[in-house]
Assembly symmetry: C2
Homo-oligomer: 331 residues x 2
């Protein structure tokens, strides 16, 4: 037999199986002496409670799904790491659903989570189909969504609009008028929101904004978008990039392919403050998002939801702070 059962521990300790069970159940009533005997026997045999059987009874396990596409890229990597760490610290078991592009894989993974009676699911990114939310709803799976406004779930949102407005404003106060924004064609809601808010704020102040899109919101996307911006028309003197990776691509094109100077010819502001933003080659001014803070909020929502399942949906906001570096000096 590979695993030790409570029965065997009970036998060795000379008590009933119930006593063993109670020893390992929080808040159960066991005499200290009995508890001691049980713990000793358990230690000797290498016993661990069978969480599966425990879960069958409680109809719940401690699994928490973490759904993300491309969890190795940019800010998402840091968010994923922070979240899994926070979950482990909470005593949960983070299951990383690294969903490829296909919808079936995601659905299959979701079924596994439900089959294992996962406690909740946190969605970091990607655009799950409607059926995903429906299935979760139907099985009473609490959902926490980060970075998009899903009314049927608890959510953690960054102040994308506010920050993007600030970016437009700070560009204009320093006399930059030839504005541009870089986003992507496969934009997540966050990326799109940043782009739109920046354009809206600039327009409201009577300033046109050129718009360029990469295919994805990554370095290659930044390369392509910057090339299209500088290939024709009047060069912008200030660019807001919807995330840092796009900014890195843009900076490399601006400096290496068009031999322009940053920030003299062109100023840039990014978003996220991934560690690379502080690298000497970049020195990117950007809006800092703290992954640990976001993860903490998500876990807090989880806790709250578990305590009061019928409370109305909550929404936590985290406000990004601008960090000035060489790509756009403090005014």
């Amino acid at each position: 037999m590979r695993f030790v059962s409570a029965e065997q521990v009970a036998q060795l300790a000379g008590v009933s199986r119930s006593a063993v069970s109670r020893t390992f159940t929080e808040g159960a009533s066991v005499a200290p002496a009995t508890r001691e005997k049980v713990l000793k026997a358990a230690e000797e045999l290498g016993y661990h409670v069978n969480d599966l059987a425990r879960g069958v009874l409680a109809n719940q396990s401690r699994l928490v799904g973490v759904v993300a596409t491309k969890p190795e890229i940019g800010f998402r990597a840091h968010l994923t790491a922070a979240l899994t760490k926070a979950l482990i610290r909470r005593g949960s078991i983070p299951v990383l659903i690294n969903t490829g592009e296909t919808e079936e894989e995601l659905l299959a993974a979701q079924k596994m989570l439900i089959g294992h009676r996962a406690e909740a699911t946190v969605i970091l990114s990607g655009s799950p189909p409607e059926s995903f939310f429906e299935l979760a709803q139907r099985n009473g799976q609490p959902l926490v969504v980060i970075g998009r406004s899903e009314p049927d779930a608890d959510r953690v949102l960054a102040g994308n609009a506010e920050a993007s407005r600030d970016a437009a404003e700070v560009f204009m106060t320093t006399g930059r008028r030839r504005l541009a924004v870089i986003g992507s064609r496969s934009a997540t809601p966050s990326i799109a929101e940043r782009e739109n808010a920046f354009v809206a704020a600039a327009n409201a102040a009577g300033c046109e904004v050129r718009i360029a899109h990469g295919r994805d919101s990554d370095y290659d996307g930044g390369l392509a978008a910057a090339r299209s911006l500088f290939a024709e028309g009047e060069w912008p003197d200030a660019i807001f990039c919807a995330n840092d990776l796009l900014a890195f691509g843009a900076m490399d094109v601006i400096r290496q392919e068009f031999s322009l100077s940053i920030p003299d010819d062109v100023a840039l502001i990014g978003f996220d403050d991934v560690p690379e933003a502080a690298w000497l080659s970049y020195g990117l001014t950007t809006f800092r998002q703290d992954p640990a803070a976001i993860a903490a909020r998500a876990v807090m929502l989880l806790d709250r939801r578990q305590q009061n399942p019928d409370e109305p949906r909550a929404c936590e906001r985290v406000i990004p702070q601008i960090v000035f570096r060489k790509s756009f000096l403090h005014p």
Copy 2:
């Protein structure tokens, strides 16, 4: 009742619970008509097999632990992502144990895995204490270790020594004689192996190697190591960096703080080929490791171990290929 049980499905379909069970059990014998009825009823009620109960019987779940420290950094991020994706595709449930520095957290997480009857554990990095291996052994948990030579577990190893020898050789064939290597004081076995093999190969060819260490094997470590190399003594004309992040830090110091030219004054070779190595600002010559290939080997070892639990420990090798870029041109 939040969850639907097989009993309810059986009732709706007008069959026994056994029939339901058999419908969802691979290889069980059910009449097509019955199966159809069951599937229809299950669909209507939104039934999913309770994997917990199933696991109790089989004494095994489909959880696979993935242990990593700092899974958001560098190559490890890509490896983690590739591994989780491969595991999901296999039908397993990847549990990301993002262990902080503390040993207790790791042990607690391991106990949870054992409590949930996880199928196996894959160790990506970090140096688990001896008790970790002991506990796994004792509970019959198959272990797959990536990137270190643990004799008590199946393992996937990169050809660190061979590649590092190649690096030394290719430097010397192009006439570079003032060699240096950058590693770190908190080196993983892989990092240390690369450093040692490089030094050994150069020494064997009668060439001295200056050695510099950062605190960690990351960008900041590269900065510090390069500063110490160039602050005094004769400047090296070729540096082998134990991973790409170290190389990026070194390149930035060399160019920005010492105004030297790469590769004219100093050539660099890195290790891993993370995407940043191809960025225009770096263009780092490096040894390519394919995270998907490594993940595939790990999963293969898992499969094999599950089929023949008593087979001797296996070791898979993946050979890194050098990719030439601007930091050291093809000879």
